[in-house]
Symmetry: D2
Subunit: 230 residues, 4 copies
């Protein structure tokens, strides 16, 4: 099975044209290449319909963008955790800022993810909400101040206190939760800063997907991680 | 390309265990067999993650269970119409009773479906709402009284006035809209009754998916349609 | 009982500071003064908590900003139509662009409004959605292109075709529905233009509430209506 | 100003016919009588439109059933914290099981409540979610297993481990948060059990509102509290 190890670079494909259909597969293959060349774990988060094809062709972790906290049954149009797992995903985002969930549903989605052995990555918007999410015992928390998402202004430089505050608050409530950060991450420097602030990786979207050369940017990110680790 | 013709039997896979992953493909293959043997159009509506694999293997119409009224962009966890189309779907449900949408979003979803050449099937709960949906110019409307869904009590027998009322109200506002009905349909007789009431097909879920022998039930449905047409 | 007659000026208080608590009552009293002086019907749409006090003190129509399509029962935090009526409202907005509803819920809310004798004013965003709403048989439809709301660019001048198109589409489906328009209305001229395009009134918020002298603006609106009627 | 002190009996009026309009005021007056006679704090939670009238006539704490995490502005149909405060409420429920909120919105609603000096009572459905809510620093948490709400099967007897587990988990994360419990509470015994399990009060709805003699039931509840305290 595909291995997930820290630190990790998680690439959110959103519904970007550059990461849909054929492009999604190409991007996943670039991620795999970077992963192979550097040994740094790079995971991809494609749209639902692209999960099966991508997971079938690349040997890196594939995550879903969302799951619904539902069992088998009458839930037309919902995203069943079992289906996502069966398609080859190893984990899932929960509560991304573009797909916020009710508190009780985050709890239920984490439980369902655990039941089908999907890694749960709960997205949060600030330190307090990160602490709150930590109490629900997900495997990872990715803090992303919404106002920085897609701006190119990196959270790890513009709001370092959000990152360190989140690491501290989360670890205090539940030391086994892995903390990532995201929003505005677009250079190796931003990634290195994130790691130095105590996170174990980054969640990135436009910084990679909309780059002129996504392969080059992912490589820069991975090398920045290697350099920090040395 | 796969042809959609009326009358049609549309099979909603929901998130039933019997219609997830491997089972989804098997069920779609049975539907294809019935379609080949009888010449009656049978369409399948699998979960998002299963669309690509099913559409790649069977030669019958595949529909999505839902699309979001969004363009390419920052919409993590949403269902992009382009992706559904690219995966091989020819159409989509919109506003199923288990995935209701806001009025303005139904309008926008129908527009987006048209833009990417997906057939829009708007689900409605009564005659008045069907008339309302007809004004938005979808290609099909499937009326399903929610209280009968999954009961085995067929709308075409228990509430025939809902079906005839919907056909009349929809045609008055927009004669080019195709009307289907659903809820409780579980025998060939129920299907025949639906056609006689003026619909051009049925939307079925548990009646087929949870049947002991789904192939046999689909065959019975198709033969009932052939008999009514004679 | 308070009389609602056309043409009408409907003033949406939203949650503006200038229209909350004490300010809400003052604004309603100015509306009453304009109504008394000109004979033009001016209705106010305060926040829920302010309905009872305002309806108890002024002799003009008071509307709610929203109702939930619910009966008596276990609906904590919801807005019961009976309560709004009991507090003294004569009508209610339904589906305002800042409080969009699912299609089936708009249908149910109109039905509930009728049951408790509240006038239903369904807000819509374009011509097609207005036609769709008309099929649900509300008493009034207020079309407001969302992109113009709060801009000061009047729908009646910037998008006259939306207004005439809505009047035509609504009347074709249901001639007994009254059509209003809103968004960007801020002068007597804008109001006159709206009436000339075939509407029977306007729905206004910031143009009045945030004006330096709301009384003067309402007076200007009412006089513009009188002038057009002559 | 009205004083809130522990232990407290909080009576949720929901949208019950027995607690709407005139009935709401009568019920609040009974609560005041019980409070006066026993010295036990009894708070009422009427519908939005009834807050002002009730808070103006009784000298007991009045709570809102919900607030939206919004500031002054363009939020038609929403519940502005300032308005609720101005109408005389001293606090508000947040995230009741019939009005669940997204996690980030619970955080924002607690912050807004604090800003306008409303006591925040966050409702939760289990121990883990209670811990999660505690991290957001509300003033109170009311745990209510949804499956027991309205059943007459008291949480304090049927699921004591949920109550003690919640008290423990909440206090560990934030000792200054007051814990209440609710669901199925209908006798003085149930209330006494709740207090003995470590809560500082109960949240009740049908057990009081739908009782043949609500005054008598509230009196029984208050006396049970006095007896436990001795």
């Amino acid at each position: 099975m595909v291995k997930v190890k820290m630190p990790i670079i998680l690439v959110n494909f959103k519904t970007y044209a550059e990461a849909t259909g054929e492009n999604a597969l190409k991007l996943a293959e670039m991620a795999e290449k970077v992963s192979d060349e550097t040994g740094v774990c790079v995971g991809v988060i494609p749209q639902y319909v692209d999960i099966a094809i991508i997971a079938g062709k690349v040997n890196i972790p594939v995550f879903a963008q969302h799951i619904d906290p539902i069992p088998y049954g009458s839930f037309t149009g919902h995203v069943l955790p079992e289906s996502v797992k069966y398609a080859g995903a190893v984990g899932t985002l929960i509560n991304h800022s573009e797909r916020r969930l009710k508190l009780a549903d985050i709890d239920a989605a984490i439980t369902r993810a655990r039941e089908v052995k999907l890694i749960s990555v709960v997205c949060t918007n600030n330190t307090l909400v990160s602490a709150s999410a930590a109490a629900l015992k997900p495997e990872m928390i990715a803090v992303e101040p919404p106002e920085l998402i897609g701006t190119g202004v990196p959270v790890s430089k513009a709001r370092p206190e959000v990152v360190t505050g989140t690491v501290e608050a989360v670890k205090k409530i539940n030391p086994s939760v892995t903390v990532l950060c995201g929003a505005g991450i677009s250079s190796g420097d931003d990634v290195a800063a994130a790691i130095r602030l105590g996170t174990e990786g980054v969640l990135v979207a436009s910084g990679i997907v909309k780059a002129r050369d996504p392969y080059k940017v992912m490589l820069e990110f991975a090398e920045a991680i290697l350099k920090v680790q040395r």
